[in-house]
Symmetry: C2
Subunit: 153 residues, 2 copies
DNA sequence: TCATCATACATGCAATTGCATCTACCTAGC
DNA sequence: GCTAGGTAGATGCAATTGCATGTATGATGA
């Protein structure tokens, strides 16, 4: 049976993870690619591109982001105005909205995504070995899986 | 000699780390403690509380945060107006500003910090073992150490 | 069936943010 | 010493954000 983690251990691990995220993000934000589209907006396109059916509910999308519901609502409005996403009311629930990428939006996502991945790799590859990155992913995947069981609200 | 990581491995590890950070943050933001002070403002107090000398340069503080320099400049202004931080011009460089917590600011930081750590632990402890959290910290610490050698700009 | 309550998203509005730019100070090279 | 170029923060202003709340639809129970 695995040992129960100490308070110091969990909080220090969290702080280290968090600070690493900040350090990487700061470097990413400086890339010229994010002049076209703010990081947060790209994040929306990216999340939409990962959805298997193509269409995502607004509230579901909101859970994957750190912005408030009204902010997302208006951001989607702007992205729609730019022709990057489409909206429709959900069939199963007339209150709900479903969103998907337009061709133009999908294209832009891929374009930025390629550069994004390339820079990320240049930045991260020297830091850990293949096995260590796999280990890191395994640990964080399990954390998210565990969190999912107890939803945010 | 450790194997050189693949592009897929680094980008997937990053995505997993990033998503985990979002999932944890979303849960933290909902806590009633962050009514008093926005997360970003707490983050400033936290960073100041961790500084050994007590005083931190504005630009140095900025590097630990994901907000722009003008935003931080004004946020510090507001925190000063609330009596949570103090400012003074740096001795070594008359252009620079140094910031530190006031007693009131330090008190508030500790108060929120305690609750913060407690909730964090309740949330994270069931997810991984003691050893795994240590491993996670070790990996992310090394990532940051490696990033530090090649500064953000 | 029909009140009652919950949920999904939109909107008014004040606060915060970022971009571009400005000012003050520092550093180099002459 | 002085000028050119760089760095640290501050500020004007438009855009974005969050909070509180509104509107419409869905779910529940007497």
């Amino acid at each position: 049976m695995a040992e129960q983690p100490q308070v110091r251990t969990t909080s220090q691990a969290w702080e280290s993870l968090f600070r690493t995220q900040v350090a990487v993000m700061r470097r990413m934000q400086q890339l010229p690619e994010f002049r076209k589209l703010a990081m947060r907006e790209y994040d929306v396109l990216f999340n939409l591109s990962n959805c298997p059916t193509g269409w995502t509910r607004l509230n579901e999308l909101n859970e994957a982001l750190l912005i408030s519901q009204p902010s997302l609502s208006r951001m989607v409005e702007r992205l729609e105005a730019k022709g990057l996403v489409q909206r429709r009311t959900a069939e199963s629930d007339q209150r709900g909205i479903e969103i998907s990428l337009t061709d133009k939006g999908a294209e832009l996502q891929r374009e930025i995504g390629r550069v994004h991945v390339r820079h990320l790799h240049e930045m991260l590859a020297p830091l850990l070995s293949e096995a260590e990155f796999q280990q890191l992913q395994e640990l964080t995947d399990r954390m998210r899986a565990g969190l999912k069981e107890r939803p945010a609200r």
